[in-house]
Symmetry: C2
Subunit: 419 residues, 2 copies
């Protein structure tokens, strides 16, 4: 197997080519003649003239055993070797292909890709706990204040993309983001990947839900087309509990586009309040939706992705656009909830009106910190909006993988930073 | 202008559509009829029925003025607005297109894309000054040792890619890397992008130089084909001193492939020693090549890209493959030097032989720290090698941009982390 696919090449060799070093896990160079195989199992096989073991492998020390199916939790203990298992090499091919698919989607739809920075001096977006950076202690002590200001790892490229919305109609970014969340749960990583997009000259949330739905479909169709065998391995053997196949829950929606379920936050609260389900957190208009609520809403709508729109204004960050409605004051925000995962995407129209934005920033005392952000509205402001998609959650959703650590090459989380 | 290209759409309007808010820098929505233009300057123009100023812009406060050509240094002062200038929007389109081109090259050549981590516990590669990360001080004090081990921002994804070389024949990564270098020079950033690749079953450095040359050509051809107008703006107006056009120095090499200049380090030292040029740093066999030397070598070879191979063993990190030659002991390493920039790529075959690698790690007392890395050689080791390309330097090279801060959306460097 050379890693190009799940399929291995069958080598047929006479007994004099046998070599005690030819063990499971060893690396070999084989020359011979490729022939039509007499077996049903493979179309071709290689009749070997020469077999050379270039890298031996002691099968007693090697943590993976021939013909054994090792669980995801077991292989996770060997971050430097797990890519050599079928399950994880399939995952990595799928991840690579899904990345390609997402870039292709944006490229085909005339988005400009922006490398938003990892290091940022924005510290007050309130998106979660931050990592701070400093030059390593062992280095020059004078460097202590390397950037002259406190510097952090980004939690989102949104504000930097909004800068670009003043110059380009459609922009996106796809890169690592960070949260110093002290959690070892199945749902959290300290370093994870986000796809974020901003669209200018938006008129309503539909301009965003359309892009979210399109990207989701286009990426998934691409992955299913190009990684059929790898995806199949997951659905049949790695995550056999994943009953609802992506085909089932992603594509049976009737007419496309605009065919995903869409409910307002207020409707969602009604559904939850009427439900006989016992939730750990009770619900009322104005409350945040918990993962248990999101999962219930998905189930209630038929176990398919569902958009929830128009959240309470007070729940949303300063940049969310005011719907100026009464009596229930909402913002033009939207989440995409999906089976198994809950929130996959979150987005909003951004407040493009200078006076409203300034008033809200003044309320929280941030008008000076964000004077550059106000500038974007001072000079040729355009209505715009955008969203972010958690890439690992996307992979979990289509593959049915329960633990987020199993869909990223080198997981970083509380008390773990291996290699 | 909607940012899709350097070209603007000419709007023709009667005087009653005039509006005092219709100023340079404002955002407008225009409806009308697209017509063949009577002017030579543009093929079509829009005869306006309605013009709506959606975002006003006070031309006195706006830092850019109509019909004025602002220098790169001037616009750098406005990181949140400079994307609205012709020069920087061209740069961003070129950067986006070059990113696409590099991904396409690897995709077409069957490389698997790996998201190597930004946060890492590797601290002793010696590639330069490191940034260390900790949860922000304002957060929970218990988190002080969030990862249980010191954690740093990556300086290279190479070692993580080498992990993947045990499972895939060809892998690459394209993402941000970091150096806490206390320099405000034209050549250094604290956060910059690297393209890194690893190829398995290599036989010689040619397996690497072939990929480097191919990628360089393929990306540049793509950029010149898809961003002709934007590249032209740079060569004609932004960096008019950039006499050698990319067409000139990238493509006139005679037969392709394998047509780039290639000299050994020892030959390079001979050339430098024989030169009448006065260098700040004198040269002798065993010395590191400085930027002044690299630039001289490029000029000496005809101002075209040149490979320098087989550097002194003692200059190279522990992972470089020992050439086991005498009397001048070298390693199988290669740099690609290009006009205007100096070193663009650096690569090497990696030491795949367990005994040699272990001996070298023991010499420097790192055999325990890198026991996982030795494992890669213990279990099915394959000959492999790889290289890294500095993406900003690549853009500087093809555009002739002198200052690295002008080819990245949000430059981070010593004492500067704006937005």
């Amino acid at each position: 197997n050379d890693g190009s696919s799940l399929q291995s090449l069958q080598i047929v060799a006479s007994s004099e080519l046998n070599d005690p070093l030819l063990t499971f896990g060893s690396a070999v160079e084989v020359t011979g003649i490729l022939k039509k195989s007499p077996s049903q199992k493979q179309p071709v096989e290689l009749e070997a003239d020469q077999i050379h073991v270039v890298g031996e492998c002691n099968p007693l020390d090697f943590p993976f055993k021939i013909k054994e199916r090792h669980g995801l939790e077991y292989i996770r203990q060997f971050p430097h070797l797990r890519c050599r298992t079928n399950a994880f090499s399939s995952l990595l091919r799928i991840r690579s292909e899904a990345t390609t698919a997402i870039h292709s989607y944006f490229k085909e739809n005339d988005f400009v890709q922006i490398h938003t920075p990892v290091i940022t001096s924005n510290d007050c977006e309130g998106a979660g706990e931050l990592f701070q950076i400093e030059p390593s202690k062992s280095e020059n002590e004078e460097d202590e204040n390397f950037f002259s200001v406190p510097a952090f790892l980004t939690v989102s490229g949104q504000l930097h993309l909004e800068v670009m919305s003043g110059a380009f109609s459609r922009v996106y970014t796809f890169g690592p983001t960070f949260r110093a969340e002290n959690s070892q749960s199945r749902r959290h990583l300290a370093e994870f990947y986000m796809v974020e997009a901003e669209v200018s000259f938006t008129q309503s949330l539909e301009d965003l839900t359309k892009v979210m739905e399109d990207m989701f479909r286009s990426a998934t169709e691409h992955v299913l087309a190009y990684c059929a065998e790898d995806v199949d391995l997951f659905h049949k053997h790695v995550t056999p509990g994943h009953k609802v196949s992506p085909e089932g829950h992603l594509f049976n929606f009737g007419t496309y586009p605009g065919s995903l379920f869409l409910i307002t936050y207020s409707e969602a609260i009604d559904i939850l309040n009427r439900s006989s389900e016992k939730f750990d957190f009770s619900t009322h208009w104005g409350c945040d939706l918990q993962t248990e609520h999101e999962k219930y809403l998905v189930k209630h709508c038929g176990n398919i992705p569902v958009f929830v729109t128009d959240y309470p204004y007070d729940l949303k960050p300063f940049y969310a656009r005011d719907n100026e409605d009464h009596p229930q004051h909402t913002a033009a925000a939207v989440d995409l909830l999906v089976p198994g995962v809950g929130e996959l995407c979150g987005g909003s129209l951004r407040e493009e009106r200078l006076d409203l934005l300034r008033a809200r920033l003044e309320e929280v005392g941030l008008e000076d910190t964000y004077s550059w952000y106000l500038d974007l509205r001072r000079f040729g402001s355009v209505p715009h909006g955008g969203f972010g998609l958690g890439f690992e959650r996307y992979l979990q959703c289509i593959l049915g993988v329960d633990n987020i650590k199993d869909v990223i090459p080198f997981p970083r989380f509380s008390h773990s930073c291996l290699l």
